[in-house]
Amino acid sequence: MSEPQQANDRSGRPAGAFITEYSKPLPHPSPFSKPYWEAARAHEFKLQQCGKCGKFIYYPRPRCQHCLSDQLEWKKCSGRGTVYSYTVAHYAPTPAFKEIPFVLAIVDLEEGPRMTTNIVAPPDKIKIGMPVKVFFDDVTPECTLVKFEPA
């Protein structure tokens, strides 16, 4: 699935450089999630905050799920949280995730919401409740995934 290949013009790398093709699923931003992914690409962690009830929201939504207000503002967030739960995957759920083991986690963000993410750390160093901080993984030139690492 991810054989090394000759860089093409779109990679932005010098001609002749070998890159590894990124074959895992990539997000296809919607009009209301686009600011989230643009911020991530700039290595900023932004969440929507409801202008009516004040709550922070993850994932990006067209309206606040607490009060249905559409008065949502993008706010730069701390990028800090704690591990609510996690699992160490010892198999590839699809062929693209053949680099195993990997850690899938649910992180309690400091601002309130929970988030599905990966924790980039040796699996035996991860514990429920441990503090984590944001880690921006530039998986392609166009896309940065928001992951976490031990704080």
């Binding site: 999630s33 609510y84 739960s85 899938l104």
Partner: protein, 385 residues
């Protein structure tokens, strides 16, 4: 308003789950169990005036019920799909009863069938999951249930051996079920613990095996039930709930919305968990059974681990659980998987449980669970004495 004793199941059809599809398709399997269920109910095809379908993972499509009815030549006055994953079977039962009670139809064919592999058309997952879950590898429910198990262990001290005991007792049940896919040898706690760790803490024997298969049951009005050749199995209560789709966004991952669903079902039935003679909780994973039994009120919250070690969950035990073997040993036929818990509940109450018959069973609890504890539907069934 209540659906208590407003409709009854009088016939079932089911194929033994199998690994390789050969010449079968989801549609051919559904046609087969439909014919079997109609005959088992002592009805003719023309008597069926309601149809509820589960759209198969292996052949997903819109406008599904009309196509299915056209294929097998039924012209219903009520037709729909039920789209709540593993809660489809229990969800079909009360929807059929509600449609009958509302006068829309008299005899509803509830049917689902699936293959254990994707077909030509990809399953249409919602954009939200593709955007916020898939990039992190959260594509398989196994990983979600593993995170539930991990947190349950953290909060309550639950162990892998305790989870394994659920699979072991269900296997004992399967050994007495000729229709179960895995009925040839017993399973031990060590077998489970020594099996491959797929997603910590879940081992391969904590996890269902995808199979090809199909199930059907017929729900009818009291008038038709009176003429049934089998003892009618009445709906006493039903409850349904959902508090998330993706487990990361659930209010709690260790206390599920089985709680409100089961409470509503018991309230409608006017009964309590202790009144049940058996339970058929949807089991895609061992942890699913543990959480469902706690939240449905059969076990005090957090005490599921010690409880399953101290109690016998086999058909001969003090809390017979998934007497057909559960999906863990019966096999999981895609979106039809949760229908097997309903057909087995009906079988037990009709007294057709063969070597695994629960003695004097006259009332039982069935819970369907979709997604990752996302959709819950509990029903209580009764054989009127």
């Amino acid at each position: 308003m209540s659906l208590k004793r407003k409709a009854a199941a009088i016939g079932i059809g089911e194929v033994r789950p199998f690994r390789e599809p050969g010449d079968e398709t989801a549609l051919s399997l559904m046609a087969k169990v439909s014919a079997e269920a109609i005959a088992d109910a002592g009805l003719e095809k023309k008597d069926i005036d309601g149809v509820l379908n589960a759209v198969p993972f292996s052949d997903p499509a819109g406008f599904y019920p009309a196509s299915f009815c056209e294929m097998i030549g039924i012209e219903p006055s009520m037709l729909d799909i039920v789209d709540i994953g593993g809660a489809i079977g229990t969800g079909m039962f009360w929807r059929a009863a509600a449609a009958i009670d509302a006068g829309m139809c008299n005899a509803v064919l509830c049917v689902g069938g699936d293959l254990n592999r994707p077909g030509e058309a990809p399953f249409p997952w919602i954009s939200l999951e593709r955007e916020f879950e898939w990039p992190y590898g959260y594509i398989a429910p196994t990983l979600g249930y593993a995170m539930i198990a991990k947190r349950h262990m953290h909060e309550y001290g639950t162990t892998s051996a305790q989870l394994a005991k659920i699979a072991v007792d269900q296997r004992t049940n399967a050994l007495k079920n000729p229709l179960a896919r895995f009925n040839d040898r017993p399973l031990t706690v060590d077998d489970v613990l020594n099996s491959r760790l797929l997603a910590d803490p879940l081992h391969i024997y904590d996890i269902v095996s995808p199979q090809c298969g199909a199930s059907a049951f017929i729900v009818v009005s009291p008038e038709i039930a009176k003429r049934s050749k089998h003892p009618p199995v009445w709906l006493l209560g039903a409850g349904e709930s959902s508090d998330h789709s993706v487990i990361s966004y659930a209010p709690s991952i260790t206390t599920s919305c089985v709680k409100p669903a089961a409470e509503a079902a018991f309230k409608m039935a006017g009964l309590k968990p202790k009144d049940m003679h058996f339970v058929q909780p949807y089991d895609c994973f061992t942890i699913t059974v543990l959480v469902a039994l706690e939240d449905a009120g059969f076990i005090k919250k957090g005490q599921g681990g010690p409880f399953v070690m101290e109690h016998d969950l086999t058909y001969a035990g003090d809390l017979p659980c998934n007497t057909h073997g559960g999906q863990l040993s019966f096999g999981q036929a895609g979106f039809a998987g949760g229908m097997s818990h309903v057909t087995e509940g009906i079988r037990q109450l009709m007294g057709r449980g063969e070597g695994r018959q629960v003695k004097n069973a006259s009332v039982g609890f069935v819970n369907g669970n979709g997604g990752v504890m996302s959709e819950q539907c509990s029903i209580i069934l009764e054989r009127q004495s």
